[in-house]
């Protein structure tokens, strides 16, 4: 039998190119050919009316080809960019224009677009544009937005874009009747994806074919394609979008179209020369998206065992200046907040509010880190109030393994019911306790205390809805050489899709792994697709490639049975050869591919076997009525609902008694993403998520001043973790509760590592310090000041 590849740590096929400098990222496309370069004038003000834009003199700069402001845009290009995910509660959704019309609402908003011989000249030209602004009062931060003394958009009352409420049971009545109650106020600040490669778009118009080719660093090639066709007035069939290698996404590249994704192709068409836009780091900070900022108020009622009888959560989600991605992030917080628990009643209300800051779209975790922070802080507060072990309170609230599927009685981000498919939270809790040494920790704490050292232990649990619809598809083509070409439409940003999808196809079809070649995110190869977000690629495209490969296999067996004069059921495919089990009779899959396509003309030695005097029953049509030529399989996977992965993280931190420096001594992860396709890749995803989580919990924040200026818009001042900031080792254990919703029993893994970070670090620091931690991220300086304020409170 062919060795099964599913579940094994296969080395990535992507790496050979990427370690030798042969990757092709957006800025690498068309290098060596004539390409013009774009630069964008961005607003220096957070809130202003544009009185006049003077571009005279810009075109006089040698090497400048084009300068546009909103006045130069017509028809659909002049309209606001699409609101991608409308929601009935989003009464006041607003999106930016490709170039600002009359008003700017955050520092960094695009105002004018220049194309020149190179980026240096384009930036020179941008510097010559003169804009007259009438400054308006900026609205910065959740407090100012709620106060609504000033409005971000004149026609949005109270700065509230949306208010959404969901309730399961009567939470307020349950809290009123509960033996114990608590109130908490919990805050999470802004951070951002910050992929090492920013955004980038290259476009080439072919006037002979009337066809637009666009390479863009995106998480959704089909999404961008649809927008370009609609806005530029092209037929969909005239637009090809190719996703080159993408240098990280983490969410920010799922939002689309970015202004440049429309302006670049439009310019390429008008100028007749390819045009490229490559975002620089400062632009990424001030013109791409952020996430995370939310303030929460919790009321909870519970019994003597810590069982939650009623949970009432209100929160305010700062969505920045615009809402292109709808309410997805706060909806996810409001639903995924529940984690592995089953409160007897739950009510959640959020307001999604405007500020004059960079807009918010999903960043890895997408609202879940905040939800997990709220729920886990609540669990810890209940444990503290009752004097119970924190794991006991959690265990008292877990959904039990025999309760699946478990309906939480809410509507999830995909508009479907929030119903968990599978999981085993009690078993997971035992694993994480063992992995981190939960029961041994008090002794360790004492030992450390004797050395004058202060340590704390934190735990956080989460559930992650992964693999949301609507669908993904795949096409599998066995070529006459025996090579297998696979395409799926969603895109890749480093997750190793070429490897894992090839593993699945090699297993399903019975071919050697190295004969399978996978293409992702190329609309020429698979025009029907959604995108890569919500930890959905493995579940959605993994299932789709599996189904498509099975279809190709079915056809191969049918043709081979005919050629070998055998019964299909007696055949097997091993190492790319179809054979009759237990006999010498066999045929190469490549030859089966030849036979699948009845020919009139031979083009090589192998194809002679399929010509009209060599093959076929003269009494029947060469291609049967219900068949088609070629050894191909195509299928789509569209699940009823999301599948729910889960995990628990624990961390041991040391806090310096003098400097309040926070050091990680141990980090442990137990993770359940159903069956693992490739453990090497899953663990890599966890490592990366944990590091991003460390950044979000201890270092990263967007520092806006009252004028709406982002003060730390560089890697010098926005503190992304280097190796020196992440744990020296991450202990990982897996639990595999397969999903019943897809053929491979898989769940998503991409975002998991980052979800519990704020919660788990807050818990550990609180445990070390002995006072509540209610706002994240936390810096040594903030911890120092918290210590001072608690010392003052304690001393009369």
């Amino acid at each position: 039998m062919t060795t099964k590849l599913f579940g094994t740590p296969v080395r990535r096929v992507e790496d050979q190119r990427l370690v030798t400098g042969q990757g092709r990222y957006a800025d690498d496309v068309l290098v060596g050919q004539r390409v013009l370069h774009a630069a964008v004038l961005r607003s220096p003000h957070a809130h202003a009316r544009i009185l006049d834009i003077d571009v005279s003199g810009v075109l006089d700069v040698e090497g400048v080809h084009l300068v546009w402001t909103h006045d130069d845009l017509e028809g659909a290009m002049a309209e606001p960019l699409p609101l991608l995910i409308p929601h009935p509660a989003l009464l006041h959704g607003r999106t930016q224009h490709a170039l600002a019309k009359d008003e700017v609402n955050h520092v960094g908003e695009a105002i004018a677009f220049v194309v020149a011989e190179d980026r240096y000249v384009a930036e020179d030209a941008v510097a010559r544009i003169r804009v007259d602004y009438a400054l308006l009062e900026p609205v910065v931060g959740i407090a100012a937005s709620r106060e609504a003394r000033t409005l971000v958009h004149d026609d949005v009352p109270g700065n509230v874009g949306a208010r959404l409420e969901q309730e399961n049971g009567d939470a307020r009545a349950a809290i009123a009747a509960a033996p114990h109650t608590l109130s908490l106020d919990l805050t999470v600040e802004r951070s951002a994806c910050q992929p090492l490669e920013g955004r980038g778009t290259v476009a080439r118009w072919d006037p002979d074919l009337g066809r637009m080719t666009v390479w863009t660093s995106t998480q959704t090639a089909t999404g961008v394609r649809g927008c370009i066709a609609a806005r530029l007035g092209l037929d969909l069939g005239q637009v090809d979008v190719i996703t080159p290698d993408v240098g990280g996404g983490f969410g920010v590249k799922i939002n689309h179209p970015w202004p440049e994704e429309l302006l670049v192709p439009m310019a390429a068409r008008i100028l007749g020369t390819p045009v490229k836009f490559t975002e620089d780091r400062r632009e990424h900070f001030i013109s791409s998206a952020h996430e995370r900022a939310q303030e929460h108020h919790v009321e909870v009622g519970f019994d003597d065992d810590g069982r939650v009888l009623g949970l009432d959560v209100q929160f305010w989600h700062d969505h920045g200046a615009y809402t292109p991605y709808g309410l997805i992030v706060p909806i996810i917080t409001s639903t995924q907040l529940l984690g592995p628990y089953k409160p007897q009643s739950y009510r959640v209300v959020f307001e999604s509010i405007y500020t004059n800051t960079v807009m918010v779209t999903p960043y890895r975790g997408a609202g879940r880190p905040q939800g997990c922070f709220v729920m886990e802080r609540t669990m810890d507060a209940i444990a503290a109030a009752l004097g119970k072990d924190r794991t006991e309170v959690r265990a008292a609230n877990f959904i039990q393994p025999d309760e699946f599927p478990f309906d939480q009685g809410l509507v999830f981000q995909d508009g479907r019911e929030l119903e968990y498919d599978s999981g085993d939270y009690p078993a997971m809790l035992e694993k994480i306790k063992a992995l981190v040494g939960w029961d041994e920790f008090p002794a360790f704490r004492e030992e450390m205390a004797r050395e004058g050292r202060q340590v704390g232990l934190g735990l956080a649990c989460y559930v992650e809805g992964t693999g949301v619809g609507p669908y993904e598809g795949a096409h599998v083509h066995v070529e006459t050489s025996g090579k297998v070409k696979v395409s799926t439409g969603l895109t890749t940003q480093g997750q190793g899709h070429q490897t894992v999808f090839a593993q699945i196809v090699a297993d399903a079809l019975g071919v050697p792994f190295d004969r399978v070649e996978v293409t992702t995110g190329d609309t020429r190869r698979m025009p029907y697709a959604v995108g890569t977000f919500a930890s959905r690629a493995a579940v959605m495209s993994g299932s789709a490639v599996h189904l498509a490969a099975l279809r190709a296999r079915e056809k191969a067996l049918r043709i081979a049975a005919d050629a070998l004069e055998a019964d299909e059921h007696d055949l097997e495919i091993v190492d790319g050869v179809v054979r009759v089990k237990g006999t010498e009779s066999q045929i190469d899959l490549g030859t089966v591919a030849v036979l699948s396509n009845p020919l009139r003309y031979a083009f090589d030695e192998a194809s002679k076997a399929a010509t009209q005097f060599s093959v076929g029953d003269p009494g029947r049509p060469p291609v049967a009525e219900d068949d088609e030529p070629g050894l191909e399989g195509k299928d789509f996977y569209s699940p009823e609902r999301s599948t729910f992965a889960s995990g628990m993280h624990a961390v041991v931190v040391e806090t310096d008694p003098v400097t309040a420096e926070i050091t990680i001594l141990k980090y442990a992860v137990v993770h359940d993403c159903g069956h693992l396709i490739n453990p090497l890749i899953v663990e890599g995803q966890i490592h990366g998520g944990v590091a991003q989580g460390v950044g979000g919990a201890l270092y990263e924040r967007m520092v806006y001043d009252d004028a709406g200026q982002l003060l730390n818009a560089s890697f010098m001042d926005f503190l992304m973790p280097y190796v020196t900031e992440v744990p020296a080792g991450i202990d990982i254990d897996h639990l595999e509760t397969p999903s019943p919703l897809n053929p491979l029993g898989i769940k998503g893994a991409g975002e998991a590592g980052v979800i519990p970070s704020a919660a788990v670090f807050a818990a550990a620091i609180e445990d070390a310090e002995g006072f509540p931690i209610t706002a994240m991220p936390i810096s040594p300086s903030e911890l120092f000041h918290l210590r001072q304020s608690h010392a003052t409170e304690e001393s009369p």
Partner: protein
């Protein structure tokens, strides 16, 4: 309004053993010259202010951030980029092989800067402790891997 055309300079860049004659303005960064004038796009630009390390190349054997160097000032130097790390027969260098074996990369964008940095680092310290391996890569940012497997790859490359 328009000034005189920008003055340019003829420079020969010696990259990976080959000479590239380029004509560049004085302000052109070495990173841009390598990528757009020499066509060596393996060197990536992540921040353009010398912090992320993605654009690191070896200049006379020392790791240098090519976004902080003007192309005209690299005239007489021997430059090695990621494209120059593999052997002439195409076989991977020990550091490249270790990155592949240890899953030391995901999106691959920061990888060339790590590979050049570690190549020089292991030349100076062929047998690092794990702490020294971490120190070796402590000036480069990676947003995907959490560095765990990058440190493993340094140790693995040192062993081979």
């Amino acid at each position: 309004m328009t000034g005189p055309p920008e003055e340019t300079h003829d420079v020969v860049l010696h990259v990976n053993g080959a000479a590239h004659a380029v004509t560049v303005p004085g302000r052109r960064l070495l990173s841009d010259a390598l990528r757009h004038d020499c066509g060596l796009t393996g060197t990536h630009v992540g921040c353009e202010h010398g912090v992320c390390g993605a654009c690191t190349v070896l200049v006379d054997g020392r790791p240098v951030r090519s976004c902080l160097v003007l192309a005209v000032s690299a005239q007489d130097a021997e430059i090695t980029t990621v494209e120059g790390l593999a052997a002439s027969d195409g076989s991977l260098s020990p550091v490249q092989q270790a990155f592949s074996d240890c899953h030391g990369l995901q999106c691959g964008f920061c990888t060339p800067g790590f590979l050049t940095t570690i190549t020089a680092g292991l030349r100076d310290n062929p047998d690092p402790t794990e702490d020294e391996a971490r120190e070796m890569v402590a000036g480069n940012l990676c947003r995907c891997t959490g560095y765990q497997n990058i440190v493993k790859a340094v140790m693995e490359a040192a062993r081979s």
